[in-house]
Symmetry: C2
Subunit: 335 residues, 2 copies
Amino acid sequence: MSRAAGRPTLDSVAARAGVSRATVSRVVNGLAVTESSQAAVRRAIDELGYVPNHAARTLVTQRTDLIALVLPETTDRVFSDDQFFPGVVNGVSQVLEQADKQLVLMLAGSAASHARIERSVAARHVDGVLLASLHGADPLPAALARIGIPVVCNERPLGSTPLPYVGVDNLGGAAAAVRHLLDAGRTRIATIAGPQDMIAGIDRLAGYRSALHGSSRRSIVAVGDFTLDSGMAAMRQLLDDDPGLDAVFAASDLMAQGALKALRAAGRRVPDDVAVVGFDDTAGARHTDPPLTTVRQPIREIGRQMARQVLRLVAGDPIEATTTLPTELVLRQSA
Amino acid sequence: MSRAAGRPTLDSVAARAGVSRATVSRVVNGLAVTESSQAAVRRAIDELGYVPNHAARTLVTQRTDLIALVLPETTDRVFSDDQFFPGVVNGVSQVLEQADKQLVLMLAGSAASHARIERSVAARHVDGVLLASLHGADPLPAALARIGIPVVCNERPLGSTPLPYVGVDNLGGAAAAVRHLLDAGRTRIATIAGPQDMIAGIDRLAGYRSALHGSSRRSIVAVGDFTLDSGMAAMRQLLDDDPGLDAVFAASDLMAQGALKALRAAGRRVPDDVAVVGFDDTAGARHTDPPLTTVRQPIREIGRQMARQVLRLVAGDPIEATTTLPTELVLRQSA
DNA sequence: CCGGCTCCTGAGAGCGCTCTCACACTGAGA
DNA sequence: TCTCAGTGTGAGAGCGCTCTCAGGAGCCGG
């Protein structure tokens, strides 16, 4: 009665196929079963439109087949138009789909959402967690590590919790950008650095410094927060500090775009007077005026790798603690 | 033994608090219980670090507290930098967080992922579904409606399945843009329309036409796919078709940016020779040269409303089938 | 022809929770 | 003193699945 109204269960399939519940379960899970009962069960499943109940399965297997992707809900990076968020999501989702896992998106803005995430993870609502683009010494990695759930970060987490992570070669990319400027004969190379509480900000500045270190050039630094506006402000300040600069390396394309605007406003020609190099190779980089020379980072691949690693962890397989993906200098007209 | 090793359960809390499982359940769910047992249970919960098992709860309540957001995984709209994706996600997630629901993100690219989504929904893996930015007559809405799960769409779904949706006033916004151009004395107003298999593309073109209808002006139309490149190509074609045009309304900011590039390449000054109006008011619109006059649509609010509606549906409350959010003309320098 | 082996199958015991139901207890009213 | 609400509580029956375990069927060699 009430049963008939609901969705078909293992039992109803078993009854229809004339076998036991256990046999149906075996068929559904691909275990050994004779061909005849296999066929009977499959037919019953089709006829009834049976779909296994996920909660019931989770209850006994302790697997949820859910992977959480935690993103800090800050305007600057995730929701700016540098495409980081969609790119990572895309890569992650691609790999999870192949593994038949679902993606739970958690935006970690307030302290309340932090607590909510912790609770959700503690309740074993998900099998693993992907932590992206953390700021400063976020307490979340440590909290999750304590709960004892597989966690993979995007970029080396600041703070003392050692967690596996997937990052890009920020240092090498920044250094390559600066070397390109040096090779082109630029002598006064400034940088617009990113926030110094994020790895991408820190390492790209370090790369700039290391490349300059060999040469006799001194470093000229302004700090932005990866946004276009901050890049514009930083460029103005740089121009103030050193009107004679002839190149600038911005730690993000958005900041590079800001620099381009500030330079134009100041009457400097790019690349003639000042060469500009960005970082990210966002969709917009091809369309700036002039088109932006920049360091490409494989955003989608970051997502893919993170997902692969966490799946391995969930499966109990060993992984290497650190994955660093290559960056690549893309030459266009701005430098 | 094996029990002691695992996470605390309702039973262990009950044992520690000296009450029955049912009483603990009542405390956890906020039902009537005497103060003394209330206190005892709370203490036991704290001491044990008890967190309810989500799967077990779902199994009996039939609620998963999960809402799916389905996005078509196409490069043009979702993963272009028009911020639609992050904006909607942000709005949705904000409302879901308040309701203590989790967001499951499903990217619907291939036919395989369509099937996977259907399966997942059929398994009652989620309580409700949000369908965003569909193309053409996607079979998904109909399929989900058949399964009988709460569904809310972004924009009126094409095809015959009537589903509740949250849209923006594309028609009014486009008309307002064109009227602004008309009021400014422009006489030959072209449009770069969006894809004609999406509501946003269709309605914005209709708005353009209706505004022009009253005047004696004729319509000049080129079609793009919301991307910058397509906008550039469309603008070139428009200039070819009618070199004397003095205004263009683009159905997206990205296409407007493309138009700006094409116009500059053709030696036209904006807004002096040709006025340009976009649609979306993306982050980049403030930074184009000249800054883009555009029609703002409340992307985040779309997400919020969609989430609110689906939650109401899940709760069994009635909702209105159609929600249309206002658009607003934002005047900057391009028109 | 029988013991022993392999292989498939069904019975049944949970997984951790909610929720109905009956019961105990209190206090008001008759 | 007895009845009748009204309230809080515990026992127990599931929710739909997996997985262990024991039994039965089929086959081999001795």
